[in-house]
């Protein structure tokens, strides 16, 4: 008898998506708000299911290929919040550009379903399934504005590179299956921990899998898609790609590398160190040369990935909690940062150049302050949450004896501080190029303000989130 309850949230969401899809088909354009509200309701219902069926001890089902545990519950809840923020921030932007279509919400929800499947995967095949569901939704979302040539170009790049990465990952999985004869993560770990478990074939499989993980994270040198896609996609889609899928990437690395290949930590640690250093260096240094804010944030993402990887490199339970903490904080920060771009955009104007933030303080002191909090948090200035995130991963590196690496991380954070602070400089010390009032609706303003203040509040009281991260992993 299959136990369906652990997958209640996924099942609910799948059903809800079908309902939204069906309803949307029969709606006229001016009734599209119904889709919007239905999507938010679907998120709420899914969240309720997750909360209702929250488990402290891991429960596996579907013949060991699906698991529900405390960590997956928390990761999913963060993903719901992120997707909800995306929908709220995007509505006005889409409506003003005649892009307010059901597809955006339906694809977004499908992507979320993919994330959830990845988060709860307990078999390499389930992971792959979730990954493809997420990726296909994202490809479509990037190309979702059919009028835009750049969007089509970046979708194409994303699709081809994503296909290569998927193939690489799948090849790694097949190698591991050949070595161990199983796809189930628990059994895999058992069989690999045997005396001759990690032979050359398994190591080669590991390398392929690391490439897949690195691509999903956007770690150098598998990061090439990130800047082009971030810049080319419509901003709401960039917001989506920049936030929730990071949780999927974290889940992918955690489920496969830590839970499945934990015994090969020494082998993948070296690879991740190289990826992490490259990401920190390339991400931070190239970000300085950017004039487009979306592209700058893309490189900033790459550098943040370098920090998240540090937690995996250190490897202890505390270090993984630190990585989780970093991922969650990053998702909140990224949502707020792209939210700011959406806030300043209006009909026929994309506020995606750095220069568009010049003199923001003169136009709207409050949102200049919100942006200041976001930038400070990303740069890792206390007392914002980004500071604690960096502090924790760097601390875990020091505990693991990798002091030189921690020092390197701090130096790179200093380089990174430059381009974040440049935005602040523009906002407060330059004259505005653009005097138009901010057109965003009230609801979005409130949510974005709460989002920005959250960075401060969580930074001043990091204890709760931190304890949560420590408890679930």
């Amino acid at each position: 008898m299959i136990d369906y309850y652990p997958a209640a949230a996924e099942i609910f969401l799948a059903t809800a998506i079908c309902v939204v899809l069906l309803v949307d088909v029969f709606l006229r354009d001016e009734q599209r708000m119904i889709t919007y509200w239905l999507s938010l309701a679907a998120l709420l219902g899914t969240a309720a299911c997750s909360a209702l069926f929250f488990v402290d001890e891991p429960v596996t089902t579907f013949f060991g290929s699906f698991v529900a545990d405390a960590a997956s519950g928390v990761l999913k809840l963060v993903a719901y919040v992120a997707v909800a923020l995306v929908f709220v921030y995007s509505r006005d932007y889409l409506a003003r550009r005649n892009l307010f279509k059901g597809e955006f919400f339906i694809l977004g929800l499908f992507g979320l379903l993919g994330i959830m499947v990845m988060v709860s995967a307990h078999s390499l095949l389930t992971i792959y399934l979730g990954l493809e569901l997420l990726s296909l939704s994202l490809y479509a979302l990037v190309a979702f504005n059919r009028e835009s040539a750049t969007a089509a170009e970046s979708a194409m790049k994303f699709f081809v590179l994503g296909a290569i990465a998927s193939g690489t990952l799948l090849y790694g999985i097949s190698l591991l299956y050949g070595v161990t004869g199983t796809l189930e993560i628990g059994t895999l770990a058992e069989r690999l921990s045997g005396p001759d478990g990690m032979g050359i074939p398994a190591l080669v499989g590991l390398a392929f899998i690391v490439v897949g993980v690195a691509f999903k994270f956007g770690a150098v040198p598998f990061h090439m898609w990130v800047p082009d896609v971030y810049q080319g996609a419509p901003t709401p889609v960039t917001l989506y790609i920049g936030s929730a899928p990071k949780i999927a990437a974290f889940a992918l690395a955690w489920r496969v590398l830590v839970e499945g290949l934990g015994d090969a930590h020494a082998s993948w640690q070296g690879m991740l160190i190289v990826l992490s250093i490259l990401s920190l260096a390339i991400g931070n240094i190239v970000a300085i040369a950017q004039t487009n804010l979306k592209r700058m944030l893309a490189y900033s993402t790459i550098s943040h990935v370098g920090f998240i990887l540090m937690g995996f490199i250190a490897g202890s339970d505390d270090a993984l909690s630190a990585a989780l903490f970093y991922t969650v904080s990053y998702v909140i920060m990224a949502a707020a940062a792209f939210g700011m771009i959406l806030l300043l955009s209006r009909e026929g104007f994309e506020a995606e150049q750095l220069e568009d933030f010049k003199g923001l303080n003169a136009r709207s002191p409050w949102f200049a302050f919100v942006m200041l909090m976001i930038m400070f948090s990303m740069a890792g200035v206390p007392p914002f949450i980004g500071f604690y995130a960096k502090l924790l991963v760097l601390g875990s590196l020091i505990d693991a004896g990798l002091v030189w690496f921690a020092v390197l991380g701090v130096l790179m954070a200093v380089v990174g501080a430059f381009y974040y602070l440049r935005v602040v400089w523009y906002m407060y010390f330059d004259d505005p190029l653009d005097e138009a009032p901010i057109a965003a609706p009230g609801g979005m303003r409130v949510v974005l303000s709460v989002n920005g203040l959250g960075l401060l509040v969580l930074g001043v009281f990091p204890g709760y989130l931190l304890e949560l991260c420590m408890r679930v992993l």
């Binding site: 490439v211 082009d228 690879m271």
Partner: protein, 652 residues
Amino acid sequence: MESIYLGIVIAPLAAAIVAGLFGRTIGRAGAHWVTIVGVAISFALSLVVLKDIVIDGAAVFNGTVYQWAVIGDIRMEIGFLVDHLTALMITVVNFVSLAVHVYTIGYMRDDPGYQRFFSYISLFTFAMLMLVMSNNFLQLFFGWEAVGVVSYLLIGFWFKRPTAIFANLKAFLVNRVGDFGFLLGIAAIVLHTGSLDYATVFGRAELLDAESIEVLAGRQWSVLTVACICLFIGAMGKSAQVPLHVWLPDSMEGPTPISALIHAATMVTAGIFMVARMSPLFEYSEAALSVVLIIGATTAFLTGLLGIVQNDIKRVVAYSTLSQLGYMTVALGASAYAAGIFHLMTHAFFKALLFLAAGSVIIALHHEQDMRRMGGLRKYMPITYWTALIGTLALVGFPGMSGFFSKDALIEAVHASTTFGAGFAYWCVLLGVFVTALYSFRLLFLVFHGEERLDSEARAHLHESPAVVWAPLVALAVPSVFIGWFTIEPLLFGEFFADSMLVLEEHDVLHEVGEEFEGSAAFVLHAFTASAAIWLALAGAIVAWVLYLLRPELPGRIARRFAPAHRLLVNKYYFDWFNENVLAGATRGLGRLLWSVGDRTVIDGAIVNGSARGVAALSAIVRRVQSGYLYHYAFAMVIGLAALIGWLILRG
């Protein structure tokens, strides 16, 4: 009792906050009422404490009120140590402070910063009380720095005057030198005892003396001596001892009530108080005591001489303060801590009195401070004259007045001392009596007697100051006359300070002096026969009378005859010149050098801008890798994969 102690410090603090932050709301009258009530409450409570400790003989209170932090084994606490010394100090501080608060109503009447001023002086009272009531070094340091900050604010109270800004900066910087020593002393103590608490530290004084520390390479010094000398450097800053005395005369740029409260009666005595409080440490270090003795004696004599050539009425009183602080320090160095504190107390009254009297004159003459444009004021301002006369007599040590008892006992104690440098100190303090009398009567004669050198407009408006000004004068005149007579026996020769000061038997000079003591009256009579001090004082007064009343042309001729000496005095021994040109000049030169070479060339040029340019250049190159071509991207991925596999296989 704990709530009373808390009340003593919190009442002025609360008043300062109300007057400072809500000054505009409560208005001028509101500001002076709230602060006066705050200090009055504090004064009343300190009287309760004094009665409790002195008359009812309550036990010493030593307790923690609040624990602020624990770092390792070091506990940082706010606590009170209330014994006879504390009880005496808080009463004196609050009494003078209350008098000054009332006086300020008159003195600052037309000042636009009225509320701010009241807030500051209340805040100062709070800081000083925290300092004297502390039971640990941390709180002592807090009070120490807090009085320093308020003093800075008050010297520069008229912040639009460049001279005031110069003076407050100078006071702050000079005090910083002292505070650095003070902090080093505290650090040495914490390092070797692991505690900030007085009682714990004092308990280990002898052990500290046994430990040694290498200050200069190859030289082992006793930790205790090093710590004590460092602490005393702090006292030298705050209590204005040579060579850190230079800030005090300049601090007269502040309003006169401040000169009375801070720069005569309370803050400058913080150093004296601190050394007395630390007597269990200083007693075990002969070397430190000698340093204290010699520095004090030098200050007492040299700065007194400077008072003779000053023409600004407040500066004369300021140099007199310096000289008297030197006397107190000498007493400390001779292990006659009680005599030092006794002189501190009597001095607080008569010096505050003299300052306020000077202030009264200054108000009457519309902020004229030059004594060469005064004279003959006696008949216009009788109350001010008589109170100033009382203050002067007390200061020079007229038999029976408070200053007589404290100074004479002090000189006798130094005479009896065997600490290294005591002979030198004895002559300094003895000759100092003559100098004191000379400049004190010079002031009195130039201001109140002789021909009127006023301009006619000032004379037309000349009248006695209002009651809020003269009432505090009278209030201070009473203890200036009587307090010595009644308190000398218990304070110096009784058991009053037995619980708060430690004097080793071989240092106990006051005991020797006390053996001949047979009551206040006998002490007065004895002074005529056995001490030269009283005759020297008389000689000083007569010389002043001759020079400034009988033959007013004489001083000018003497100055011309002894031109080099006169120039030395007028230039204040060139301390300021040395500080400004040599020390400050060299520091500025070094700073400029480091700025141009170190900062501009190396740090800004090479490191900051250089690395920034480097990163920017690197950035421009690396971004080209992001060509936009799909096959480049795929190629990068494949290379990355190949590198990873290669690394794995090669590694083994």
